[in-house]
Symmetry: C3
Subunit: 334 residues, 3 copies
């Protein structure tokens, strides 16, 4: 009888089917899967409006004045929480930060009751990060019709706002997706960043998409349709236009047979200056952060002229501003 926090995602409706209103407008962002190219392009276009050169004032407006955004982070996060918080504040919204340590969840309240409670406080948008698969869709399925859910990171399943900021970063550096060769390298198996990037890039019609990892960390090919799976970075990186390194958990390396330590990991899968010689001369390097410098990526590359890593962060705020305005517009005037 008690509502618990254990959700069986296979029991849930497909999040890809729950995001749009009957008119085709974005109400929730739960996953990039199932969103059409046209909609993704519109969101990227809208994001451009929220970019200003670094060193100039951040773009601000009053478009969300009178709205309340709640950040519900059940996993710790600096960058994503800060990015959403700034996005909401720069649009004039009120922001409520709730993190797990001080929340009623420690008293055993179910997630859903927390949501019902906050919903009754007339919050407009919930930004949810959770370690449990299926939680954002589960919440989206139960909230009132005038509320939006934005997935800010879901287990190893999905991180759609990261996927969008990755698309925006690539689009701003390269004119189109069709002729690009993109390589994603690292712990593909456990990466929500990789999943959302693959979903977004596939929809945008990317030319070639290579997923490179140690054999033990390779993805399930079924979930990564349209991508080439490999274990040989030196080969895959040839003539690549975009190289995206993923964060690896050091504990994972310790359990690998083929790559038993960080030195071996770096030598096989790290993005080094030497290895970048094989990529296209104007290739860009991306990383979702936080970086393990010297493991996934050499500092000289992370801080070098081909790095788009800080641009990703800046684009992240713009993408979140675009999403907030988009879903609030869908919700309509009140």
């Amino acid at each position: 009888m008690p509502v618990t926090d254990s959700i069986d995602p296979s029991d849930q409706p497909d999040p890809a089917q729950m995001q749009l209103t009957p008119d085709g407008n974005l109400r929730h962002l739960l996953t990039l899967r199932g969103l059409e190219k046209n909609l993704l392009s519109q969101l990227l276009d809208l994001s451009e409006d929220f970019l200003s050169p670094l060193g100039e004032s951040a773009v601000r407006s009053d478009q969300l004045k009178g709205r309340t955004i709640a950040n519900l982070f059940f996993e710790p996060s600096t960058r994503t929480r800060a990015s959403f918080e700034l996005a909401a504040k720069r649009l004039g919204a009120e922001v409520l930060n709730l993190d797990v340590n001080t929340s009623s969840r420690i008293k055993g309240e179910s997630i859903l009751d927390t949501i019902y409670t906050l919903q009754a406080m007339q919050i407009d948008v919930f930004v949810v990060r959770d370690a449990g698969a299926g939680i954002p869709a589960y919440i989206a399925r139960h909230v009132d019709p005038y509320i939006s859910i934005l997935n800010a990171g879901e287990a190893d399943v999905s991180h759609p706002t990261q996927g969008l900021l990755d698309l925006l970063t690539i689009r701003r550096h390269k004119s189109d997706f069709e002729n690009l060769k993109v390589v994603i390298v690292g712990d593909i198996a456990h990466s929500r960043v990789a999943r959302s990037a693959v979903e977004g890039l596939t929809t945008m019609g990317v030319g070639e998409l290579h997923l490179v990892s140690p054999p033990a960390l390779a993805p399930d090919p079924v979930t990564m349709r349209g991508a080439t799976i490999s274990h040989d970075l030196d080969k895959s990186i040839c003539d690549a236009d975009v190289i995206m390194a993923l964060r690896i958990q050091r504990e994972r390396i310790d359990n690998l047979q083929d790559v038993p330590n960080v030195e071996d990991y770096f030598s096989n899968y790290g993005i080094s200056r030497a290895r970048m010689q094989r990529a296209a001369p104007d290739a860009i390097v991306m990383h979702p952060g936080p970086m393990n410098r010297g493991i996934e990526i050499e500092s000289e590359v992370a801080d070098g002229p081909q790095s788009a890593i800080t641009r990703q962060v800046q684009n992240g705020v713009a993408v979140r501003m675009a999403l907030l305005t988009a879903v609030v517009e869908t919700l309509g005037t009140r």
Copy 2:
């Protein structure tokens, strides 16, 4: 010589005598005890101004522009802290959140020195939650004359803003208090929610008030004057107009002789659909949250048409907006 955090509440002046200015205006809210029916009614009337239908924009104003509200929560809380934070922000105030984990209290600073420090930063209203009995009154006694204290939950003694939101919820569903039969069920002995509800309902002239609990969790009859104490919910619930279930700590159940487990607790004291058949047909069900579904209340009741639980939450924001405007008006223009 050192000021300590151990306050002997019996040494303190009666909080009920400290809340009003000589003119009878509300300066602090420490307890509902001693507040007259007329004042409570005015606060409920004022709260109505801050309600809008769910799904519409929350009510906002600039009445507290230029004021600073500090949330001092020495006990963890999601809902009450969020409710006060939103209330203050929607009135245009600046909000400072301070919680025990990051506070100087870990360095051994006394509560009073923390208050003196914040007072010197020109904070206008302190919202205080503490596990220590007598703390809000102790603070109220020591602050400068241009500062208000709102009690946001005090040990098992008092939770006056919860009491007010409960009154507002009842008043909005039922036209008057005089003809009502109200049943409060649960761990009455340790419940600050029950205490404040009893104080408020008694002042409002409630028709019948029944407090139902396992024998070991019965209240001291002296502190609950005017209420009927019982251990038989099936009998007390007959023809009740309002049933308020309280949260019980599972650890407490383990120590009960008569009700040794949660199944027994639910079967004797839980609000089930079956049991609701005995209440008045238009009875409402309340719970302060967070709920233990399946222990105090059946999910079908909590989520059913007679539930006023989410209304309580919404009314909570309105009541806190009313209180903030009331005490700031009492403090006067500066």
Copy 3:
């Protein structure tokens, strides 16, 4: 190769040389050392504009509207964090609070990568508190040219905003510094508050400056040039105009040979009413807080007419408002 959080301060450029633009305007505040009397006086003058009588409304403006201030506190703090947060909000800035417990640092991200990330989110001013010596200067050295760093407490090295608020408090009570006798008493060896006070007072041309401590907690005389070091408070306090008590960690007392317990500490180094008889009749008493009442200072003195302790707190907000406006003016319009 990995950037680590261990900074060797001796490898760093001198923070005193990094704070001003070529035009002599304040860009960062890392230390009071090296700042000229004229500049300190201007900052104190500017701070006066942000003071209003306690009991009146706090001073507010929109001078920082459109700016974002990030509080990066890698050490817990109530008063300093609250003071900076209120200062920024009362100037109309957006504030982002980041504390170590919820930050990516727990995932191993280096401080610098955290800064680079936040910088890309178009934050204007970083307020940094850290237990590591050299961290604020290290950060200042690496940020983009349109960003300011304010040191909010650095190991036992420096606490320049505390130093400024101490200067402001003294200046508001005493007309000039030249004829003053100032006594600082406590754990001088480990006190960043003492260091910054000595630096500021020396620059302002204080008449006499005495540093009193148990022998084991005496400062390195080289770093405290211009001050008289003593272990006899009864002698040093004679005719003093300003007595500043420092907070002592109780654990430190346990390791002292000469002063083995808190009673002995109070009897030798505590500020008592009896001892205050030896000071000038209009002497003021200061303490940076949080106080150990009965150890460093008698409650009757802390709360008595000669205490300037709450004034220090109020002046702290004003000093931080002045600093924020000063560095943002240096950064220029965007």
